[in-house]
Subunit: 82 residues, 2 copies
């Protein structure tokens, strides 16, 4: 079966996020009442697996090995059947 | 009131995504059964607004003016009260 996987990769809260700081400064200068801006990655992919549990394991492995840097990032996986 | 806004910024389907192609090639070479990899941005921020409707309008404006490039990207806003 094919599944659509959505992987949200975010910097760990303790890690400085220069892109987030830059966006926050820009928005604040434009008058927007924002704080605590964090910029992460959103990866969508189709994965082929026998069932949803197998797909979850595969995408979890991809997240650890390729899609995130576990030292500084967290990630979260969501699956929907295609 | 404060709201946590999550903005998903994705390339339009017709736009080539070199980062997605690179990730797909890497994952495929490692033996993962993946296809159609797309890499987008996930922006989280706190916004101050009178109510959820006002927060939605503010974040929609930020999305159009700053967070996305409307020529090549789509974006989607989700809000949760803090």
């Amino acid at each position: 079966m094919k599944y659509l996987a959505t992987v949200e990769v975010t910097l760990r809260p303790s890690v400085l996020d220069p892109a987030g700081v830059a966006v926050a400064q820009g928005l604040t200068q434009m008058g927007y009442p924002v704080a605590a801006v964090r910029v992460g990655k959103l990866i969508r992919l189709e994965v082929d697996a026998q069932d949803e549990a197998a797909a979850q394991i595969l995408v979890q492995q991809m997240g650890e090995q390729v899609l995130s840097n576990p030292v500084i990032e967290n990630f979260r996986v969501a699956l929907t059947p295609l």
